[in-house]
């Protein structure tokens, strides 16, 4: 079954095209890594699929329902790109995770036993059960990322969108994240992970999608971190330093792409 089905998806922000005709089909239970340079449109694609940005063209379906008629948000877990899970007032780890349960709760109803169990289970998967009463702001950056994953997990979704959960997270915490995601994958969740570098997550990935300038530049076998920056994928953000070509004074500076096209 197709969980994500985007056809010709287009997003423009302030009249400027950011995503240009994206076709993306993700099957049930797949772990897809969405990669690419900064500004290639990875995050925007996730935000379009979670309806945080309106589409300007094309169609997108989640679980076979068009986005604008999709109401089963409890089937979707979202881990936004954040440096911190804290806000202006203290909040405990448990409270932040419990807010992920709201997709399944009705107004003015207390938490049911099922709710509490889901929250406890989510904390256990990310390995933070013992810190549940602590202030979120007292946790390290990597632990706060795990809190955000537990929050998405608490709603018991079938589909996860994770936007760069490993950015700025140290290796032991990346490993803890990878363990949590491995558990999700084992439970049969479909996962779309936006990442700049995969690190310990690499072995979980079933499929890599590489974006460039708002288009899908590669879609297929899992790629190693370094291959994503392959010039063949047209990624201008390589780790190698090339001599800077100096254009002559007033001549237009046209750089040729790999196929000889400007």
């Amino acid at each position: 079954m197709s969980v994500i089905d985007a056809r010709g998806l287009t997003v423009a922000i302030g009249g400027r095209p950011v995503l240009r005709g994206i076709d993306l089909h993700v099957q049930d239970g797949q772990f897809v890594a969405l990669m690419g340079a900064n500004g290639s449109g990875k995050s925007t694609l996730v935000r379009a699929l979670t309806r945080l940005w309106p589409l300007t063209g094309g169609t997108a379906e989640l679980f076979g329902t068009p986005l604008d008629r999709f109401h089963d948000w409890h089937r979707v877990g979202f881990v936004p790109q954040r440096n911190t899970a804290a806000s202006g007032v203290p909040a405990s780890v448990w409270e932040v995770v419990a807010s992920g349960r709201l997709s399944r709760r009705r107004l003015l109803r207390p938490l049911s036993r099922t709710d509490r169990e889901a929250i406890r289970d989510a904390l256990e998967v990310v390995g933070l059960s013992r810190r549940h009463a602590d202030r979120v702001s007292q946790l390290s950056g990597g632990q706060q990322q795990r809190v955000l994953i537990a929050r998405a997990l608490a709603g018991e979704p079938d589909l996860f969108f994770l936007d760069e959960p490993t950015a700025g997270v140290d290796l032991p915490n990346q490993q803890a994240l990878a363990d949590a995601l491995a558990e999700l994958k084992h439970r049969g969740a479909t996962i779309l992970l936006v990442a700049h570098e995969l690190g310990p997550l690499a072995e979980l990935v079933d499929r890599s999608v590489v974006m460039r300038d708002g288009r899908v530049a590669f879609d297929g076998e899992p790629l190693a971190d370094h291959a994503v920056h392959d010039p063949a994928l047209g990624d201008p953000h390589t780790h190698h330093h090339h001599a800077v070509r100096r254009g002559s004074d007033h001549a237009p500076d046209i750089r040729l792409g790999p196929g000889g096209q400007p």
Binding site: L52, P80, R82, A85, G88, P90, S99, L107
Partner: protein, 333 residues
Amino acid sequence: MTPAELFSLPFMQRALLAALFTGLAAPAVGTYLVQRRLALMGDGIGHVAVTGVAIGLLTGASPTWTAVVVAVLGAVLIEVIRERGHANGDVALALLFYGGLAGGVLITGLAGQSATKLQQYLFGSITTISSGDVLITMALAALVVVVCVGLSPQLFAAAQDQEFARVVGLNVRAYNLAIAVLAAVSVTVAMRTVGLLLVSALMVVPVATAQQLTRSFRTTLGAAMVLGTLASVGGLVVSAFASYRANVQPGPTIVLLSLAGFVITWPVGIWLRHRARLREPFPSMETDQHETTDHPHVHGPECGHLAVPHGDHVDYVHDGHRHAPHEHHYDEH
């Protein structure tokens, strides 16, 4: 006059009721404002409400109701400006701050009213409150408390992380507007108690005090409401007794009492956070160097040094060092 006689006076009873309800309601909304880092929003709305009061004075309508209407409009306007991203939250606030205050003073002049009439609303006059006003205050304050506590899971999530809350399926815009409207309502509720210029203090200071000591949102919300009630009722009582000797206004007394609470808890909060940091377990990582320390003192449960779990053993924090017992000496960890 004895205390019993003082509290049997009808105007004092009305004042106590108004103080009680204001003290509960203002910090309840204030918690959400502080959570959104909009602590000064109450102040902005208070300034806008000055124009509302002045319109009431000009038209002869009840200043309380005109203040409610204008404050709600102002609060919604602040929220819209903020949401559309036309200006930062604080710039949007500043615009309304000055517009509201200037408009209020100008219209009061047009109405032929003196500044003293306006001053009742600017600095509060809880002892002159009428029974009708007390009923309005109680009803509005109860509404604020019921919504702030009843919808706390949703309001918390919407303020904590807007984008996440939208994906969870919450109507974040509606909750944002609800907070803005509730803030406007509690500003006008507190207008008679502490006055429009000091209203924000009752919304924010109890929250700032509470969060020195709390770890969770729910306890912060609850503690702020308790502290707000203590400050407003306590301030009223203190000012009533003090006014035998001098002219002591209830509004400023309430605010200063509330601030005194913050001044007392602040060092406690610093100490609590310091202690929490010290007690945090050390990550259980292999220590590759085996550095021994010559140490005559014997660490144990009774030695007075803080014991912190470190993997499979316990470290003792000693002058900024970590000592771990190992055979007949201590290792530096």
